[in-house]
Subunit: 154 residues, 2 copies
């Protein structure tokens, strides 16, 4: 159990001393899970196909093994079901389809997602309203003072 935390070969590229490249966005975890479920709501699919669909959707590159493992995990949780499809030539495919529980979960996620969206929109609104209106001057970008909202009076 070595706890070497000084490795600099990490995923997020954010620990090699001083200043690094600014931490690319990823698409993993909940985002990947819900994306997969969303795809499977429309049609059944197998892993390799989903990897490609995700890539076609303009999302950042990610590892295919993560997709495969996520699908198996979803199946263990009962959100999708699968069977081996050997009807086509070539390697057998594990076809996945969404279960009732998977649809319910996706709905749950969609609901949560709406709330998350509001947070991001707040950030955008703040640009539209006060922050970014330097039509004839670039002053705002440098000396932007945010309203100090403190925990006490909120």
């Amino acid at each position: 159990m070595e706890k070497e935390q000084t490795k600099s070969t990490g995923r997020r590229g954010a620990a090699n001393g001083g200043h690094e490249e600014p931490m690319q966005p990823r698409l993993t975890g909940d985002l990947l899970t819900s994306s997969l479920l969303a795809f499977l709501r429309r049609w059944n699919a197998y892993g390799y196909q989903l990897v490609q669909e995700l890539a076609n959707a303009g999302l950042p590159k990610f590892d295919s093994t993560t997709v495969y493992r996520t699908l198996r995990q979803l199946e263990r949780a009962g959100l999708v079901s699968s069977f081996w499809d050997t009807s086509e030539s070539g390697p057998a495919r594990r076809m996945y389809s969404l279960t009732k529980a998977g649809e319910a979960f996706l709905d749950l996620w969609l609901d949560l997602f709406g709330r998350y969206q509001k947070i991001l929109h707040s950030a955008l609104d703040s640009l539209d309203n006060s922050d970014r209106k330097p039509k004839n001057g670039t002053a705002a970008s440098g000396e932007r003072q945010r309203s100090r909202k403190r925990g006490r009076d909120a």
Copy 2:
């Protein structure tokens, strides 16, 4: 929320046998990161405050330590900066503010997020159009899969 999550097992409650509870949505990783940055785009804030704002936003409960550690990580990556605020009574607060790099990263994320959004909308559209596939697990409407006429078939 009376969720009664089994404390013994891990986070996602999906590893104790055959079939378990259906895996609650979470808000972690990129979602948490971008939410924090979005908040900080509007005003400076400290960790405890952000924990509460997130909770008020209707997002699922999550651990405050995750927020604190995420903020420190963001700072190491240069996306936020912090200073100790001792101007108020009570424990000192570590005030965070978004850096230029943090704004750029948030914009990046917003862009990625738009593409992700399309995927989820596709799932919703499939419901609206009542063009739902038969949920049999059988690739009944097999053509619709991907029009994947591979070599032998073409």
